[in-house]
């Protein structure tokens, strides 16, 4: 029996308004479990829209998205939210954390929505893996540096041991040194956790961390309106 792919997209179309052209139009795209891909393309070409579709925040206009064998696009809104909480970790550009909560509460909040039980040792372990000291647990997220925030964001995304990790331009707010150590941590951790990684960026210098690279403009037949 062939392994179930992590992501399977068939005839996926998406448009923001009925009359406009499709922003996303992907005939067929499969991503195997444990694979890590670098999805690149210029800004404003619809990458974020695809990520929103994959995370279930947006619903496809037509077509099908199967995640981990489940017909994701057919799920009800509430089920999609639950699925996202349990199986998908998300890290975006910045403001990944709820600024008025402590680091620990930010991490625990993610487990609350997924309903998973995580003990404190596991959290401490995860945080040390990310080269953060455990005494930041009680600091408010707003008191952390951007670099620390992004690493806590990875911890938050991985805390429920998701099968799929979606990362959208996570390094754009970091300087070059921080970027390098961040990328190495991200790649090695996703390998440790064995999760499928979709890494989106317009910055081609980051491609060196990945074996598989996908040019978004070749993948997507849709046309982004010239607004942005």
């Amino acid at each position: 029996m062939p392994p179930v792919p992590a992501v399977q997209v068939t005839d996926l179309c998406y448009t923001y308004s009925q009359s406009a052209q499709f922003v996303i139009d992907i005939k067929d795209w499969t991503l195997n479990k444990g694979e890590g891909i670098f999805l690149y393309g210029p800004s404003g070409c619809g990458k974020s829209t695809l990520l929103n579709l994959l995370a279930g925040v947006l619903k496809p206009t037509a077509g099908e998205i199967r995640l981990l064998g489940e017909d994701f696009s057919k799920l009800k809104n509430r089920q999609r939210d639950k699925f996202r909480a349990q199986h998908i970790g998300v890290v975006f550009q910045q403001f990944n954390l709820i600024h008025y909560l402590s680091v620990l509460d930010n991490l625990l909040l993610a487990t609350k929505f997924s309903g998973t039980r995580v003990n404190k040792d596991e959290i401490s372990h995860l945080v040390t893996e990310l080269q953060l000291s455990v005494d930041i647990f009680n600091r408010k997220a707003s008191q952390l540096s951007v670099g620390q925030q992004q690493r806590v964001a990875i911890a938050r995304a991985l805390i429920n041991k998701p099968e799929l990790l979606i990362v959208d331009e996570p390094t754009s707010a970091l300087d070059e040194d921080a970027r390098d150590s961040f990328m190495q941590l991200l790649v090695s951790l996703t390998q440790t956790f064995g999760c499928t990684l979709i890494f989106v960026s317009h910055d081609k210098t980051l491609a060196k961390y990945f074996h598989t690279r996908v040019n978004f403009t070749e993948l997507n037949q849709g046309v982004m309106p010239n607004v942005s």
Partner: protein, 413 residues
């Protein structure tokens, strides 16, 4: 967890939250106070006098008679002659009578001249008689029985001398310092204007209004333990007890049509009711205004939450990313609103409770209002529930807005 989230979120916006909280505290405190005072005032009114079938005074409106004779508010516009009183008293249907004479004061407390019958027959609350905590009724013309509050305030005990002042009010330029009044008894607290009153004998009160020389003769005779004959003078009102309750209407008609003098007889219950209707209308209006203010302040709360939506975009995006549905965000806004309203209402209860404790003696002294300081009764909790309900309703506005924002919030922006 959602409550904690809402709480932390409010904490992070403390300055606007505190202002909103203040406005809720003020409005809820106002509402609770108005409602509490309304109930208490009605209670206090209705328990002021009982066991008295009729009050007779010089002709005036029934509310006026009630106000000056029972509440010791305002002043008697006219006197009733001693002869009319004697004639009334001799009516076979009159079981007992207690005349009162007003117009003097002592440290702002009103002084009434009366007879021993007053202490025997005047009842308050649920037909409770007046009782003494120490001493007894006066036996000579310069004896005085003081109410519980007067005694407590001035630290009076039996045997203390007191000086009456002419006229009412705290400041008087004419003191009856020649008359040797002394405390013979202190009444137990009743929660009625009696507590604020000094009772002296009718003769004693007449004596102090004699000319200086006449008064000094009376005092001299009194000091030598001689019998003093004092001319009787008019009285301001008389409390009547009748042989049967049915007699009230008969006697009332008789008094109102009395030819020798223009008199009014009032039935206390009826007059209390009329007075209450008058005041009740104002109080209902106050209650309506208090409700409007509550709604205004809760609208303010919703405005505050609504205005924060923009800056909270990131927060909603994060919550969506970790799997919170738009309903969760709707709930979070509702919880924030209810948390604020609840905290505000609890603090308001505290404020009212404290305020009543601090002001109850002032209110009883200056307005004859006896307000129970215990506000924790069913009505207060009903109001509490109404506040929460109104909040829940009005908070739908920002909560729905948050719901829609959350529904359309993408992950990254």
């Amino acid at each position: 967890m959602l409550v904690k989230l809402a709480f932390e979120s409010l904490k992070s916006r403390s300055s606007s939250v505190i202002l909103t909280l203040l406005s809720i505290i003020i409005s809820v405190a106002l509402l609770i106070t108005v409602e509490h005072v309304r109930l208490e005032a009605k209670n206090s009114f209705n328990r002021t006098i009982s066991g008295v079938d009729l009050i007779v005074g010089a002709r005036t409106g029934q509310i006026n008679v009630l106000l000056y004779s029972v509440f010791r508010v305002g002043s008697a516009s006219n006197v009733m002659s001693w002869e009319s009183y004697q004639e009334l008293k001799s009516n076979p249907m009159v079981a007992w009578s207690a005349p009162i004479s007003l117009g003097d004061s002592h440290h702002g407390h009103s002084v009434i001249g009366t007879t021993k019958d007053y202490f025997e027959h005047y009842k308050y609350g649920n037909k409770q008689p007046l009782t003494f905590s120490s001493g007894d009724v006066f036996n000579d013309i310069f004896g005085a029985v003081v109410g519980a509050d007067v005694a407590a305030e001035n630290n009076y005990k039996v045997g203390d001398k007191i000086v009456l002042s002419h006229g009412t009010g705290h400041v008087s330029f004419s003191h009856h310092d020649q008359a040797p009044f002394h405390v013979t008894g202190i009444l137990k607290s009743t929660g009625t204007p009696v507590d604020q009153t000094i009772h002296v004998s009718l003769q004693g009160l007449n004596a102090v209004h004699l000319s200086k020389t006449a008064l000094s003769k009376v005092v001299e005779a009194y000091n030598n333990k001689q019998h003093v004959d004092l001319p009787e003078s008019g009285i301001n009102a008389v409390f009547l007890g009748l042989s049967s309750p049915i007699a009230s209407l008969q006697i009332q008609r008789k008094v109102n049509t009395y030819e020798k003098e223009a008199l009014s007889a009032i039935i206390p219950g009826v007059a209390l009711n009329e007075l209450w209707q008058l005041i009740g209308m104002v109080e209902n209006l106050l209650l309506v205004i208090a409700f409007m203010i509550l709604i205004a302040s809760i609208l303010g709360l919703s405005t505050m939450l609504l205005a924060s939506m923009r800056e909270r975009h990131h927060e909603f995006a994060v919550l969506r990313a970790i799997g919170a549905g738009p309903l969760v965000i709707f709930g979070m806004i509702q919880i924030e609103a209810l948390l604020l309203a609840f905290t505000g209402a609890v603090l308001a209860l505290l404020v009212v409770w404290l305020g009543l404790h601090l002001s109850s003696s002032y209110l009883s002294e200056h307005f004859g209002l006896f307000i129970d300081t215990n506000i924790f009764h069913a009505n207060t909790f009903i109001l509490f529930a109404i506040v929460m309900l109104v909040t829940c309703f009005i908070a739908f506005i920002p909560a729905i807005s948050a719901y829609r924002t959350a529904l359309h919030t993408g992950l990254s922006k």
